[in-house]
Symmetry: C3
Subunit: 116 residues, 3 copies
């Protein structure tokens, strides 16, 4: 099976593809001045883009981890998530609280997706 990497940085890559499985990094908002809902919106848009580049899409996510810097943002994050998640193809998900790499980040999301 092949291994392919997308957006390869010195420290980490945003995506790795192993055979038919696509792994993303923990994605944070490009503009962390927004609130939790806004950051979630940005992150899910980034994930849509990464999955498209990897040849797949949100209907093929098989695992998702969400970290919230403050679990009180659970409702705000879910408001955006629920509108984004494809009916009939919602993924298994875990959502827990954790301080993130920098205090301005309120949300971080990582997914594993099938390619086919």
């Amino acid at each position: 099976m092949t291994i392919e990497r997308l957006h390869v940085g010195k420290r980490l890559s945003q995506v790795a593809i192993h055979g038919d499985t696509v792994y993303t990094a923990g994605i944070v908002a490009g503009d962390p001045s927004e609130d939790a809902a806004g950051q979630t919106r940005q992150i899910l848009a980034s994930i849509d883009g990464f999955l498209a580049e990897a040849g797949t899409d949100k209907a093929k996510i098989v695992s998702c981890t969400i970290w919230l810097a403050d679990i009180a943002d659970y409702g705000a994050m879910n408001g955006v998530w629920d509108a984004w998640v494809p009916a009939g193809n919602s993924p298994p998900r875990a959502c827990v609280e954790a301080k993130l790499a920098a205090p301005q980040y309120k949300v971080e999301i990582r997914v594993v997706a099938a390619r086919r």
Copy 2:
């Protein structure tokens, strides 16, 4: 490879199966009035059920994440875990502290299992 989902909800599914790999959601106790040991017992029973529906079992778990709302419950959780985990087929595991979606939840467990 096929993708199959079990217990599909609007927000998340409890299980996704991609080829020979089974991913569960982060599972919490159905009755969170119980203590950490009791919640762990409920969760592991749920996982047994989900894995059976997916055509596999606890001897085929290849990765496990455990979140404890209070790491002081490490011993109580492990007492139940150690009795449940199959001799010779214990999975790689990570266990860390994290606040969970609601304060009554003391334990959340997610597994990845092989189907064959």
Copy 3:
């Protein structure tokens, strides 16, 4: 597909191999008297060893989770990480804060790697 386990303990195994995918446990330092940089160095050496036993290496990591007991150690951990990660083959990574199983542990790292 075969399932193989390495360093099988009563509670957990350090590694599980399912087909071409290698899962490690959350690895902590053997000598937790060291600081975050020293613990990171020990952990990455352990991971190198486990991956070698599994027939792969750090250039084939496809997902990495790092938990820091204190996110203030982000820079110290990254100093060691950046020197270790193979140019052109950096993995997708998530790094968050979480209290670990015992207070002396400052860093815990888990990886998923491709075998080929």
